[in-house]
């Protein structure tokens, strides 16, 4: 009997300690840089860039085969939808059980850098992929907090443009796309009639809300964070920017109230069906074609600015959008991971992959490819070069996307329900968002 009790106790203790180890394992033991314990394989988490996951696999698989032929390293690919990506990365960070190489949204760079899970791209690592000079400055601006080694390497670059329906413009007697916001409202009022609307929006999509508010904020001289990384959501510029954006629905009435609940790119569907004349979007061409539009049906112009001339500082008209490639610090194949990043950022692969996705290569040499001279890609490329700014590179950036994005979503809901949107109500929502930000 006593022996049995001892045995049971032992079993319990073993199970307990095993469980405890599992509960807090991962991450803690693998503090340093990765090893080369399994040099023949890599796991790669790609973000969903194409119209669906199958399309991404079709685009990437032949390239990964090419990499295998060149290096003998087999790459296991997993394409992850955007809605899951950040949670998956967080789970991998906590458990230490993640991929070797992964795509991250470039606006998350600083937030993820703060976790310490990503390999820093110091001079030596950059040398392994051909040097920092190969990349466009704007794209490098979205790879981590200023003054620190980047947490990732730019892979695909994007910016916002104004897409407009040529036939609807012609019908309303409008000869050219609006260059200033005043123009946009004027032509918008002409276009918004008979159940058709001038501008599309995704009022319930937090991230899209942030992108629009950020570019407008820059034009109003607001950054949403101060130099110390503290939130300044209630500055006059920030309030004016958010109000201007929501007013397109609330006051100017050029956005359909129904857009307040859009979050699944329904505004692109409306555009393709001729219900909406304009959208502010990043690289929408492939989606429009997939929904039955012909490239001649739409035009692409720079996003309006107050002066009509996009350029430096207050004439910013887009955030630097895009995807970065990062390496998990505790990878078992550090050399292989660096080789893979070198391959993916090589001139040839950059031209090929960015062409396939309709994005712009963040590698200068690859931008020279004629494919990026097309009307829409040329606008995106010039915007990136001249008038795009990276979102605040602060550790709390991802919280900013959620809190301010939610505030704008609420304001859109008010506008859609016909409730007034005033400077005070905008300020109050932004103030609530600011107070919900974590202290650090």
């Amino acid at each position: 009997m006593r022996r049995l009790r001892a045995l049971a106790a032992l079993a319990t203790v073993t199970a307990l300690s095993g469980a405890t180890l599992t509960a807090c394992g991962g991450g803690t033991s693998t503090g340093g840089e990765g090893s080369n314990a399994s040099p023949k394989t890599l796991t790669y988490w790609a973000s969903n860039q194409g119209p669906n996951i199958a399309a991404d696999k079709k685009i990437l698989t032949p390239e990964l085969k090419k990499f295998e032929q060149q290096t003998g390293i087999k790459v296991k690919l997993e394409v992850i939808p955007w809605s899951d990506l950040l949670n998956r990365i967080l789970a991998a960070t906590t458990s230490g059980q993640g991929p070797d190489v992964l795509n991250i949204g470039n606006t998350w760079s600083s937030s993820l850098q703060a976790t310490g899970a990503l390999l820093p791209w110091d001079a030596e690592n950059f040398k392994a992929i051909g040097g920092k000079d190969r990349f466009v400055d704007a794209a490098l601006g979205s790879t981590g907090t200023e003054g620190k080694d980047p947490a990732a390497v730019p892979l695909y670059s994007l910016s916002y443009a104004l897409y407009y329906n040529k036939a609807m413009f012609k019908e309303a007697g409008i000869s050219k796309p609006p260059a200033t916001w005043d123009d946009l409202v004027t032509v918008g009022k002409k276009l918004s009639k008979d159940g058709k609307w001038a501008l599309g929006a995704e009022g319930s999509n937090l991230v899209n809300n942030i992108h629009q508010a950020f570019a407008l904020g820059k034009q109003h001289g607001a950054d949403f964070f101060d130099a110390q990384g503290k939130p300044t959501f209630t500055s006059n510029g920030a309030v004016s920017a958010v109000k201007q954006y929501v007013d397109f629905m609330a006051k100017d009435k050029i956005i359909a109230p129904g857009n307040a609940e859009y979050a699944q790119n329904q505004s692109l569907r409306d555009f393709a069906q001729g219900k909406t004349a304009m959208v502010l979007w990043q690289a929408a061409a492939t989606t429009f074609e997939a929904q039955g539009m012909k490239p001649d049906d739409w035009g692409v112009a720079p996003v309006p600015v107050a002066s009509g001339k996009p350029g430096a500082e207050r004439q910013v008209n887009s955030m630097v959008a895009g995807i970065n490639l990062a390496v998990f610090k505790n990878t078992d194949n550090l050399d292989g991971a660096r080789k893979f990043v070198k391959f993916m950022t090589s001139d040839a692969e950059q031209a090929h992959l960015n062409k396939a996705y309709g994005s712009i290569p963040p590698v200068t040499a690859a931008q020279k490819d004629a494919a990026f001279d097309r009307q829409d890609t040329a606008v995106l490329r010039d915007t990136l070069r001249k008038s795009a700014a990276p979102l605040p590179q602060v550790p709390n950036e991802s919280q900013f996307e959620t809190s301010v994005g939610t505030a704008i979503k609420k304001l859109f809901a008010d506008a859609a329900a016909g409730r007034p949107v005033t400077t005070e109500s905008v300020k109050s929502e932004l103030s609530k968002a600011q107070q919900q930000m974590p202290k650090s």
């Binding site: 967080l90 609940e261 930000m437």
Partner: protein
């Protein structure tokens, strides 16, 4: 108890088979009697420990730490903050506490209405289905469809139906029946509470139906026959026989529905995404947003602990009241 500790001598023990030592036989016999139940429970206990108790303990520890993105990789290194996370959660004058309190009230209202309606519809359907009629089997199967469907697929279908401009709900309400002046929003604004409640009741009542139907099978038919002879009508039979007989079943049913509904995460998440409208901001999604979306895991843990305490209190109170009620009823 004495019979357990000093068992009567068995035949086996009195006459052990030849060639075997009695001491080796005594152990399995005692083992079976005294230790076997514990041994059989051991795997379940261990699993409970690993799956529930240890993570719960970890969660409680986390709630006393300042756990943000800077420390999630090695949460043990996060600095202790004492009760700060709790203070932040219950400071109802500041936005964080105010929002938590608001979501708590929304959840209470939602739970009471949802559980009440699920129970009412489920019970009514079960009583109705006691009658024999043509197509009863088919109808019963149809009733169970919402319960059998994968939650995600079902709720996402609802979210399509609730869309303002293209959804089926507004098409029927506004275009076909003309019940509303304009097309109402269901997924944003105040109506989102109604949308959430609709989906929750649609999803939950078949379970109530199933359980009540099983409970009804146990009520002897003779009681109804006797009551009918005594002149009791349908409603009196339900009130005097059906409901009292279902009491033990209902006690468990309401408790389970309450816990499931109060903690429901899937329905609001699929319907509204990461940030639910204020009117439908259930506490589960609110805590999720506090910890996983704003990466403030310490505060999220503190909120979870508070929620756990509340649910424990309510459950204990409920069990106390219902069991006391049963005792008086038995007496």
């Amino acid at each position: 108890m004495t019979t357990l500790t000093t068992p009567p001598p068995s035949k086996e023990r009195a006459a052990p088979p030849a060639g075997k030592r009695p001491s080796r036989l005594r152990l399995p016999a005692r083992l079976r009697r005294v230790s076997l139940p514990y041994l059989l429970l051991l795997p379940a206990l261990l699993l409970e420990l690993v799956v529930h108790l240890i993570p719960m303990g970890v969660g409680i520890v986390m709630s006393f730490k300042e756990l943000t993105q800077f420390f999630i990789r090695d949460w043990g290194a996060a600095p202790w903050t004492g009760l700060d996370n709790y203070k932040l959660s219950v400071d109802f004058d500041a936005p964080v506490g105010e929002a938590l309190l608001h979501s708590f009230f929304v959840t209470v209202a939602f739970t009471v209405l949802s559980v009440g309606l699920c129970w009412l519809i489920g019970t009514a359907a079960a009583v109705f289905m006691q009658e024999h009629f043509r197509g009863r089997g088919l109808l019963r199967a149809v009733f169970l469809i919402p319960y059998a469907l994968p939650v995600y697929a079902a709720v996402i279908t609802w979210s399509f139906m609730f869309q303002r401009d293209t959804g089926l709900i507004n098409h029927v309400l506004h275009d076909q029946l003309g019940l509303t002046d304009s097309r109402p929003f269901w997924l944003i604004g105040d109506n989102s509470f109604v949308a959430l409640l609709t989906v929750s009741v649609w999803k939950g009542w078949p379970f109530a139906f199933l359980i009540v139907m099983a409970g009804l099978q146990n009520i002897p038919k003779e009681q109804y026959e006797a009551a009918a002879i005594d002149g009791a009508g349908m409603w009196q039979q339900v009130r005097r026989i059906t409901l009292p007989s279902l009491r033990p079943v209902n006690q468990v049913l309401v408790l389970v529905l309450f816990l499931w509904t109060f903690n429901d995460f899937n329905t609001p998440y699929v319907l509204f995404g990461k940030s639910a409208p204020e009117a439908a901001d259930l506490i589960s999604i609110h805590i999720y947003q506090s910890s996983f979306v704003t990466w403030n895991f310490g505060t999220g843990s503190a909120m979870s602990v508070l929620l756990l305490l509340f649910l424990l209190l309510v459950t204990a109170g409920y069990l106390l009241v219902t069991s006391r009620g049963r005792k008086t009823a038995d007496v």
